[in-house]
Amino acid sequence: MRLEGIAAQVFSMAAALVLAPLLAGWVGQCRAWLQNRRAPPLLQPFRTLHKLFHKEAVMAHEASPLYRAAPYVVFACMLLAGMIVPTLSTDLPLAPAADAIALVGLFALARLFISLAAMDVGTAFGTMGARREMLIGFLAEPALLMVLFTASLLSSSTSLARIVESVSRQELAILPSLAFAGVAFTMVSLAENARIPVDNPATHLELTMIHEALVLEYSGRHLALLEWAAALKLFAYSCTGIALFFPWGVAHARDHVALALALPVLVAKLAAGGVFLALIETTLAKMRIFRVPEFLATAFLLGVLALLVHMLLGA
């Protein structure tokens, strides 16, 4: 393991930690502008985190150690996810530790812990949130796997770094299988990141909330970690999307010029992605919870279709 690699890894961790709340803030700003509201400042998520970290954590009498550990587990999982996805460089020491399937496993592990923690206190909303989160999870997870499988088959490797390298080496062309996979991935990302039309991150309306119901009992530093983890999740998903579909500009091994350019390129891509997300969220209405399985089943079928198209056309 070279020093350079470790430096790249630490740098990508720092980038994830800083860029994730910024991305969340940017999406919030874009949404506000699109809805003719005055936007909060870009750094608003950091201010919220700062405020929450300073507050004391209030916990239910019944809360078990699982409840206290869960925010740390979820945060570590999401940060690790942000570090595994090749955001800036494909030359990451941690990349061989986890491939695309392990990345999905990492998201699933975080989901398991947050759902169990939500059930821990034994409130009506907590268990409801856990049930809905797992419902979304079991439909979104195979869809995400299908998308990643399509990309893996294209580059005959499940390693994310290899996928980025092989996709970015191809000339710019819209592959039919990747087109299907892209739509499926967008749908999954919306569901997994608690976005409209599946969930509304700004809601506290009892009957519609999913993510907010999960973290309802949390406060203080635990809530701060969970909010940060949610931002990291959005960041990791965005970066996965970029890595799979727009990998141009990610630095390959030992390419110092590209590494210096990678950060501005990434920021530009994330900014564009944020605008896209805000547009989707503003133009769509939230679905009823019973429509969500259909939405995600569509994503799953699109993912399977992408796989089949790849098998049929070889592209």
């Binding site: 300073h54 570590a76 530790a97 699933a108 592990l109 009506a124 499940t158 009992e217 089949l308």
Partner: protein, 669 residues
Amino acid sequence: MIGTAAIDGVVAVVTAWLLLGMAGAVRPRHFGFVARVLFPASAGASLVLAGLAIGAIPAPPQVSILPLGLPGLPFHLRLDALSAFFLAVLALASAGISIFGAGYFRTGEGTAPGMICLQYHMFLAAMALVLLADDAYVFMVSWELMALASFFLVTTNHRVPEIQRAGYLYLLIAHVGAIAILLAFGVLQAGTGDYTFQNMRAQRLPPFAASAAFLLALFGFGAKAGLLPLHAWLPEAHPAAPSPVSALMSGVMLKTAIYGMLRVTFDLVAAPLWWWGVVALALGLATALFGVVFAAAQVDMKRLLAYSSIENIGLLVMGMGLAIVFHAYHMDSLAALALTAMLLHALNHALFKSLLFLGTGAVLHATQERNLGKLGGLLRYMPWVGWTMLAGVIASAGLPPSNGFVSEWLLLQSFLFTGGLPNPYLGMLVPLFAAGVALVAALAGYVMVKFFGVIFLGRPREERLAQAHDAGRLERLGLLWLTAGCVLIGIFPVPVLDLIDPIPATLVGHGLAQGGRIGDWLVLAPVSAERASYSPIVFVIATLALMGLAFVLVRRLFHGRVRRAAPWDCGFPLQTARMQDTAEGFGQPIRQIFEPFFRMQRELPTAFDTAPRYRVTVEDPLWHWLYLPIARVTDRVSRFIGLLQRGRISTYLFYSFVTLVALLFLTQA
């Protein structure tokens, strides 16, 4: 002649088990002797067996002939890599189960403890003999012994009518399966009259006969494994048995059926056809999906686990099917990958399912309750059981860094890179099965959150749960043993895969290690590092380091103050344990999405009910479409045959006379 030390050792362990069982029968009511002496001794024997079996996997096959049985029909035994691996599975799981059993079995549960001890050890010995058998005769005798011993164990509480019914159904399906296995052996010996496996290996069967043998074996062993549509006994029998027995049946006995399938397909027939693999893949996927969907709808914790076992058997059969497809097309490195994935999953399932069943046993003893709707919040009262079960739950959900994830990862890898298949339709079909596996794996996570969340988290749904006591010392030891297995295999999979490697090398002629190394202790890379790699140890260390870093930094930079208060719950003033999701509530989305899978009966309250009642029962549709019609037809046929029975001696003499005349006529003509 190669040395026979290992196989003699295994036979000695089997003998020791039988002796321990008989010692229990000598003093059946002496509880202390049975629980404190015999069961721990049995666990010791398991450990010895584990050592012998693990040592025997890379060794060349050893044969032994015991002068038992009928004259001219001695017991042929053989210990090769495949049987040694499954013996290791049996030994590793039973070591934990026996030591748990030492603390678990009580007096006053139907059968006397000494008799349970006898049946339990007969069961263990029979399973070991099934794995050692080298002729159809020993195999069938031990197979039947296994079925009978487990039947008596299932009906331990034989005064309960449902348990009698479950036992009967189990025995019935076990025998239907046994007949099919016997027929399969009949086909395999190809008219030579020699029923040793050695002879069967030497036969080159025509494709039709080979296919008949495979299908009969799939049916016969499928009946034991709980393959669709012969699964009906499993969710009845597993919950009926005492928990250590459920653990043994689910964790190990189902694997003997998988062993039988592998033995017939890859060893005795040796040249499988590609469409066998497709049959196995389709049946496996149907079984896995069915199992996991039904598991999500269950409200009885042991039935939930039984359905989850059906799901895992489905995954194993899928792995076998994939290996058959690859082997038939001579893509042996991929066949080796699929086979390795499946064998590792068999071991993993033995460990985590035993762990979960033992945990339910501890919960059952502490609360006398199997209904998920009456449990809850037990993590506070039973921390040992709860935390070890959490490890089992993570493994069962197939999440990193557990052992369940490693085998699922390998299975998905083997499904992914099928590009070289010469049959293009098959090449398209196989990734679709991968989609099915992904769906099943994700649903397993749902099931496990329901299972753990409803039992251990939240508030106790009944007052008396607050008096629940944690597992005893021996029970804890058993739970910890299995937990350690789950965690260690999850973190260090490569040594285990190295150990498994001789099996694909002998069965499909290619080991994973032949195409390079499976990986070093750090990184698992079964095909090549370019293609796919996973490093659980780095994964664990990175996650733990990030967690620790976050913890320390948050404490340092800010503070660690905590205030305890009543739960917030959006400010609702009245909060009771009854307001949490029940098991039915948690299963509701699954029941809605997969409605065609179920036969549901719902009783919904109306707005005007003074005492509103909500009830939903979920039934297996196959029961109505398949089993009841067959039962009706059997009933009618037997009534028709019953017309012959008049109960008068003269009538029977007349029958004999007619038969005699008919036979004389035939021999003359």
